[in-house]
C-alpha cells in the first residue's frame, strides 16, 4: 500500500489547542494542495471538547485523528511515539509535520527512528519537488550561516519539524463547518509508556518564558550595564504586548534567567518584531533571531554588527532612548483605549 496524505501534529495544553497547530495547517494546506491529497491533523491529548477539535477542521484539516485520554494529559514521549507510530502504520501518510517545540523536537526523532523515516529539524521553508513529489525541506544550520535544503528520496513518511512563528496561523473559515471528519481513536493501553511519571510542575509567576511563541520579543544585552536596567526592557515588552529576551552574557551574569536566552545556546525565535537593546550582535546571537520579520537595534556603538541585520536602528544611549520610547508607547496605548 502506498503512502498518501499530509498530516500535521496538533498540540494541546490543558484542553486548549496551541496556536502553533494552526501555523502547521497553513504549511500543510499548501503541501496538500500541491500534492492534491487530503490534509489531516493528529491530536493526542488529555481532554478536549469536540468543538475545539473541530477548530482544526475550520482552519483547514479534512480529517482529525483524535486520541484523547486522561492518561495522555502530559506529554510522555514513549506513549505519544507509540500512538503516532500506530496511526502511521494504519493510515500511512506521506508527509508529517510537527512544530519544532520541545514536544515536537522530542516526539518526531523518537518516532522516525523506529519506522526509519527521514526527518528534518526546524524547517523554515517547505515545498514539493516537481516531478518526484518529494518534500523539499529548507532549514538554517551552522548558526544560520547556511540554508540547507533536504529531501527524503525513498523512505516514507517524510517528516519535518517546523520553526514556530515561521508562518501565519491558518484563519478560521466558517464555510468549512461540517466539511471534515473527526475520527476518534480508542487508546490501546499497551501503547502507554508507564515508566515516566510527571511528579511536578512549576512556572515563574507573572513571567512569560515562551519566547518562541511571542509576536514581539524585546531583548537586552550586556550594554544594559546592570541587572536593574532590565526593568526598562520589561516595560517596553509589556507596552508592546511582547516578552523579554536576553543575550547569553546577561544570562551568564545572572541578570535574567536562562529561559529568556536567545541564540545558539538558548532559543531560536521568529517573532514579528525583535528589538535588540544593548546587544552588539555576535554571530551566536544572530543565529537565534535573524529570521524575525522585523529587527530593531538600539545601541550606542554605530559599528555594532547588529545594525547590519536591522530594519530600523537607533544609535544612542538606551538609558535616554528606551524611557522616551516607553513614554510614547504608553501614550499611544492610552489613545487606543479611548
Amino acid at each position: 500500500m502506498s503512502y498518501q496524505g499530509v498530516w500535521t501534529l496538533a498540540e494541546a495544553n490543558d484542553g486548549e489547542i496551541k496556536i502553533v497547530s494552526y501555523e502547521l495547517l497553513t504549511r500543510g494546506r499548501e503541501l496538500a494542495d500541491k500534492l492534491r491529497c487530503e490534509l489531516a491533523s493528529v491530536l493526542i491529548c488529555g481532554r478536549i471538547d469536540e468543538k475545539d477539535a473541530e477548530e482544526l477542521i475550520l482552519r483547514g484539516a479534512d480529517r482529525v485523528y483524535l486520541v484523547s485520554s486522561p492518561e495522555l494529559e502530559h506529554f510522555v514521549v514513549g506513549s505519544y511515539s507509540n500512538i503516532l507510530i500506530d496511526l502511521i502504520e494504519r493510515y500511512r501518510p506521506e508527509v508529517i509535520l510537527s512544530a519544532a517545540t520541545t514536544t515536537g523536537r522530542t516526539l518526531m526523532p523518537h518516532a522516525a527512528v523506529k519506522i526509519k523515516a527521514g526527518l528534518t529539524a526546524d524547517c523554515t521553508e517547505l515545498d514539493i519537488e516537481e516531478g518526484t513529489g518529494n518534500l523539499l525541506q529548507t532549514r538554517p544550520a551552522i548558526g544560520g550561516n547556511i540554508m540547507a535544503t533536504i529531501k527524503t528520496p525513498e523512505c516514507r513518511p517524510q517528516m519535518a519539524t517546523v520553526r514556530p512563528k515561521s508562518t501565519r496561523p491558518a484563519p478560521r473559515n466558517e464555510n468549512r463547518r461540517g466539511r471534515g471528519e473527526i475520527i476518534r481513536i480508542e487508546l490501546a493501553p499497551a501503547l502507554l509508556d508507564r515508566r515516566v511519571e510527571r511528579i511536578g510542575f512549576r512556572k515563574n509567576p507573572g513571567e512569560d518564558i515562551n519566547i518562541q511563541g511571542a509576536d514581539v520579543v524585546v531583548s537586552g544585552g550586556r550594554g544594559l550595564g546592570k541587572k536593574e536596567n532590565f526593568a526598562l526592557i520589561r516595560k517596553m515588552a509589556e507596552l508592546l504586548h511582547g516578552v523579554v529576551g536576553a543575550s547569553r552574557e546577561t544570562v551568564d551574569r545572572g541578570w535574567i534567567s536562562y529561559p529568556h536566552q536567545v541564540g545558539l545556546s538558548g532559543k531560536t525565535v521568529t517573532p514579528k518584531l525583535y528589538i535588540a537593546v544593548g546587544i552588539s550582535g555576535a554571530i551566536q546571537h544572530l543565529a537565534g533571531m535573524k529570521t524575525a520579520d522585523i529587527i530593531v537595534a538600539i545601541n550606542k556603538d554605530p559599528d555594532a554588527p547588529i545594525f547590519r541585520v536591522a530594519d530600523f536602528g537607533i544609535i544612542g544611549d538606551f538609558l535616554e532612548v528606551v524611557p522616551q520610547i516607553n513614554q510614547s508607547l504608553a501614550k499611544e496605548g492610552e489613545r487606543s483605549e479611548v
Binding site: 551552522i142 547556511i146 540547507a148 515508566r195 510527571r198 510542575f201 535573524k290
Partner: protein, 265 residues
C-alpha cells in the same frame, strides 16, 4: 554508576566561513571544538561522579581528529573515550548517527545513564539524543535543566518546556539530554590534561561492532542534502542617531512611525 556521554566535534561557529562560489563551508583553518552544548552534559556527568561516584565513558563518531574532543572530555574529568571512526560512517544523517551510537552503547554493556547535549551547534537538529533513546527503548527526558535526585534505580529531573518546568521521575537506565541551565562547565585542569594524554582511546568501526552495514553512513541515511545556500543577512534599514534632545525626540517619533507602518501599532 556507569554514565555514557555521546559527544560531537564541531567547527567553531563564530569562525565559520562560507565559500562564496560553492556555498559550502570552508573547513581549512577553522578550529574544531567540542560541541559547546555537549560541555553541559559532560559537566553534569562529572558532578554526578563527584557526588556519588561514577565511571564516565565519552563516545564520539567522527573523523580521526575527533580524538581531540574525546581527550578534552577526559581532561575535564571523564574516565575513558571511544572513537567511532571509519569511511563507512561518512555522510550519516541523524537516523544513521542515532543507530551507530546506539550500537556502541550496546557494545559497552551495562550502564545507568546516558547524558547528551541538547543539540550540536553545527547541524542544530537535536534529534540524535531522542533517537538513541528510541533505538534503545530507554525512558527519556529532553531539555533537562536540573537533575533533582539520583538513586540506584531511578532519576528525578526537571525539564524546561514552553509553559514552565516539569518534574519527571524515571527508572534507570535512562537518557537525559540537558540544556545550558543545568550547570556551568569547568575548564580542564593541567592534571586532567596530563591524564587525558596518557589515556588510550578505544577505536571502533564496523569491523569490531555488532552493526548492520547497510544502516551506516550515507547509504543508511534516509535524508539527502539537495542544496546549500548562503543567505543574505544584510538588511538595509533606516538608522537614526541620537545626540541631543532634539534628535532623541525625532528618533522616537520616526521609530513609532516605522512601527505604525509595519502594522505593529
Amino acid at each position: 554508576m556507569k554514565i555514557i556521554i555521546p559527544i560531537k566535534q564541531v567547527p567553531e561557529t563564530s569562525n565559520v566561513k562560507i565559500d562564496e562560489e560553492t556555498g559550502t563551508i570552508v573547513r581549512e583553518g577553522v578550529e574544531s571544538i567540542v560541541n559547546p552544548l555537549d560541555l553541559y552534559a559532560i559537566e553534569a556527568g562529572i558532578q554526578l561522579k563527584e557526588e556519588r561516584g561514577a565511571e564516565i565513558t565519552v563516545v564520539s563518531m567522527g573523523p580521526p581528529s575527533a580524538e581531540k574532543a574525546l581527550k578534552e572530555a577526559i581532561a575535564m574529568g571523564c574516565d575513558d573515550g571511544i572513537l567511532i571512526s571509519g569511511k563507512e560512517f561518512a555522510g550519516s544523517d541523524t537516523w544513521a548517527t542515532s543507530y551507530t551510537i546506539s550500537r556502541a552503547v550496546k557494545k559497552l554493556g551495562k550502564f545507568d545513564l546516558i547524558l547528551t547535549g541538547e543539540r550540536a551547534t553545527d547541524g542544530e537538529t537535536g534529534q540524535v539524543g531522542p533517537g538513541i533513546a528510541s533505538f534503545l527503548d530507554l525512558p527519556v527526558s529532553t531539555y533537562t535543566s536540573r537533575i533533582v535526585e539520583v538513586t540506584e534505580v531511578s532519576i528525578v529531573v526537571e525539564r524546561l518546556i514552553e509553559e514552565g518546568y516539569e518534574m519527571l521521575r524515571m527508572p534507570l537506565p535512562a537518557l537525559v539530554s540537558v540544556v545550558k541551565e543545568i550547570c556551568f562547565p569547568r575548564l580542564p585542569t593541567l592534571r586532567g590534561k596530563q591524564k587525558a594524554k596518557k589515556t588510550e582511546l578505544a577505536r571502533w568501526n564496523a569491523d569490531n561492532m555488532d552493526i548492520e552495514r547497510s544502516a551506516l553512513g550515507l547509504n543508511g541515511s534516509p535524508t539527502r542534502v539537495v542544496k546549500i545556500e548562503t543567505p543574505k543577512v544584510t538588511r538595509s534599514g533606516e538608522v537614526v542617531r541620537v545626540t541631543d534632545e532634539e534628535s532623541l525626540a525625532d528618533a522616537v517619533e520616526r521609530f513609532l512611525t516605522f512601527l505604525r507602518k509595519k502594522g505593529i501599532l
